[in-house]
Symmetry: C2
Subunit: 426 residues, 2 copies
């Protein structure tokens, strides 16, 4: 089938067509090299391959069609933005481009060089005109999870309206009150943009849609606990990454189809790695699409990633919103409570994250943990000290990696990971 | 007069005596080179010279004497900690050591290398056993003003009990409520530690003591607006730095004595620099004692610093607590309101800081602004983009400097500053 020409749409969205063509070419090649070269992939991953191939095409067309129908598109960077409210008013919540080394020259005109790759990336994507999602968004929603993002949104707001939610830094009753106020104010803003009220009926529906998506991802997470695991960490990360972009209903259906196939594999003792392959839990900073570096390094070094303790992974899917709220206020409370459970390193203290890592290492039968911090990601970098210390006390091998989106350090990372795996196997 | 031997006291405090001797020798030499070499210093600076020479000696002895009397010493790192409450219960609020490149090897065992010099410094001082103030403190009070400090306090708490106040990130009514809760909880903690209640009487006294200190510093700030300025930026910074360590009543008296002398100088048209010397406003990250690098570079390059838009400067002294509160609750409200006005870069948005910089540049008759960020200080580094942009729009020359506590870049900084001053004069 001839691929559709999306260039008129991209032009209408104000993209830099030439740069965008180059971007797609580079990403396409990277995907082929990293993903299509994997052996023994589940058949149902073809759906994900298709979604990736149409991430800037068909999916954007769908969003534009939603917009023509009067539905709104809200772009976000963080698992703290309550998608339930957006879904309630018929809107679509999409992740924004932030996972590729792109537009850095542009980004560094407005941001310090010592800024984490994710932040430079979203700024670069916007300034270089390469992200159709931000172009299609009716509103961008930021948050105060880290200094870098908090302050960068002030600058992004000069180029695209950015609404910022204040995330508390502790988990006292006062913080919950602050957060509830933020959720209620966000609800008003969403209603204003959508020209539609959040009601108990549509919010119940919104909660259900998002919970179902999380349940599908939880199911996948459970299945990966099998030995041998029936899916690679690269593919599982891709699923989590795409959960931020795809239509949630279709995505949920397709992930269950994938899970059916994976369970069949488990029943047949079929895996993507030999038994005895070291099982690695990757923990730390989020890996935005198409940041596949760490699982690529790990899985081309003779190990397999069995879980991601990350916003693009367990952190965004572990907790559900209680579905038994009858009134709007009860539902809002359920949303508030669910999001207050997130164990982002923006909280102090954040002991529950360390508990979660220990639980996840045990449940996923990990032989070792790789803690990944994006360079200059202060919350996760500083917290990695306590993570490492606790894991060492529990005799769980741990390797700390700090990296950015560049490919220059892949060789060095492979050397370190291989040495670590020798130790894990020993 | 023979200097007293403080070594028994330092030993009792658990300091590393050998390292501490070396530190004092280095600091003594630096002070001599940087401060005592200045020409035409005000006589009253002799008081500050004395305080500096006894900063680890007599002043610590005084604190130990306070402790023997049952009064408490509270160590802090931030202008957000309400000193009024500490003063109310007879306690002493002291700044902790954070301005020297020291104990870095120790600090980097627990913190990422990419951590700002101030944070590495306080951790290094503690781990290397070189700060008598933290040793003498009954409690250390931290805050959530930046990711680096917020997360580093979790680690510091393993070595010294650290109570953390949550600082809001916006200035809505919700944020004020959060902050009021934090202030009330801090009051309880201070009462618990002191074994003494905060009453309307003692809080009125505490507010008065701290306001008087701020008024003395405001007076100094005003006097520096004269042309030529009667005091160097180095000396004025020292005054601000020492305001965090000295006995507040004695400090206030001595700063008024200094101001009397400076006003006399102004009446006589006497200054520390020739008329026509470029006047520089330094804005940005705090300069903890003994971080004198930027004013040293500026003032040995033919300019004079006339104001510091910084926590160690205008940010900590600009606003007073209203003194007309009759009830305890009204006084607490006055404290809450005063601290909510602080325009730290931890807030988003933070337009009022930019307004304040413009006002201060005008009032201090600055010919140019140097924006200083400690390397890896994300809030001020990112915010510097908007500061620079606004100043350029107003045709105020601006130079952005990023630096740490090392001396390796002094030559390069001098070259940049000299080029900037040529431009300012042109």
């Amino acid at each position: 089938m001839e691929k559709k020409d999306y260039r008129p749409m991209w032009k209408d969205l104000g993209l830099n067509l030439e740069g965008h063509d180059q971007l797609l070419a580079v990403l396409g090649n990277a995907y082929k090299d990293i993903y299509m070269s994997q052996e023994n992939r589940p058949k149902a991953m073809q759906y994900l391959d298709f979604v990736i191939s149409e991430a800037h095409g068909l999916r954007i067309e769908e969003l534009m069609e939603e917009k023509r129908k009067g539905n709104k598109v809200i772009g976000t960077f963080c698992v703290y933005v309550p998608e339930e409210l957006i879904s309630a008013v018929g809107g679509t919540c999409v992740g924004l481009c932030a996972g590729a080394e792109i537009g850095i020259d542009e980004a560094e005109k407005v941001l310090p060089r010592n800024t984490c790759a994710l932040i430079k990336s979203f700024m670069g994507f916007k300034l270089a005109g390469l992200c159709p999602y931000i172009q299609a968004s009716d509103l961008v929603v930021g948050e105060t999870t880290c200094d870098g993002k908090k302050k960068a949104y002030e600058i992004l707001n000069d180029y695209k309206e950015t609404y910022v939610m204040e995330i508390p830094q502790m988990k006292t009753e006062r913080d919950r009150a602050l957060w509830k106020g933020e959720v209620l104010q966000f609800k008003e803003r969403v209603e204003e943009i959508a020209g539609r009220k959040v009601t108990p009926e549509n919010l119940r529906q919104g909660i259900k849609i998002v919970n179902e998506k999380r349940r599908a991802l939880q199911r996948l997470s459970q299945i990966r606990r099998a030995a041998p695991p029936p899916i690679s960490g690269l593919d599982a990360l891709l699923v989590n990454q795409i959960s931020f972009y795809d239509n949630p209903l279709r995505f949920t259906r397709n992930i269950h189809t994938l899970c059916d196939e994976l369970e069949e594999r488990v029943r047949n003792g079929m895996g993507v790695a030999k038994n005895g392959t070291p099982r690695i839990l990757v923990s730390g900073s989020p890996m935005a699409l198409p940041n596949w570096k760490i699982p690529y390094v790990v899985e081309t070094s003779g190990a397999i990633v069995v879980a991601e303790e990350s916003c693009v992974g367990e952190r965004s899917t572990r907790d559900l919103v209680q579905e038994d709220g009858k009134s709007l206020d009860k539902m809002i409370d359920a949303i508030v409570d669910r999001y207050m459970k997130i164990d982002c390193a923006c909280f102090t203290p954040n002991e529950e994250r360390i508990e979660h890592i220990l639980d996840l290492a045990r449940d996923s039968k990990a032989d070792g943990v790789i803690h990944y911090s994006i360079q200059f990601c202060t919350p996760y970098s500083v917290e990695s000290y306590k993570v490492e210390k606790t894991l060492q006390q529990k005799n769980i091998p741990v390797l700390k990696i700090e990296s950015d989106y560049g490919m220059e350090d892949v060789g060095q990372l492979k050397t370190r990971v291989e040495a670590f795996l020798e130790m894990v196997k020993g």
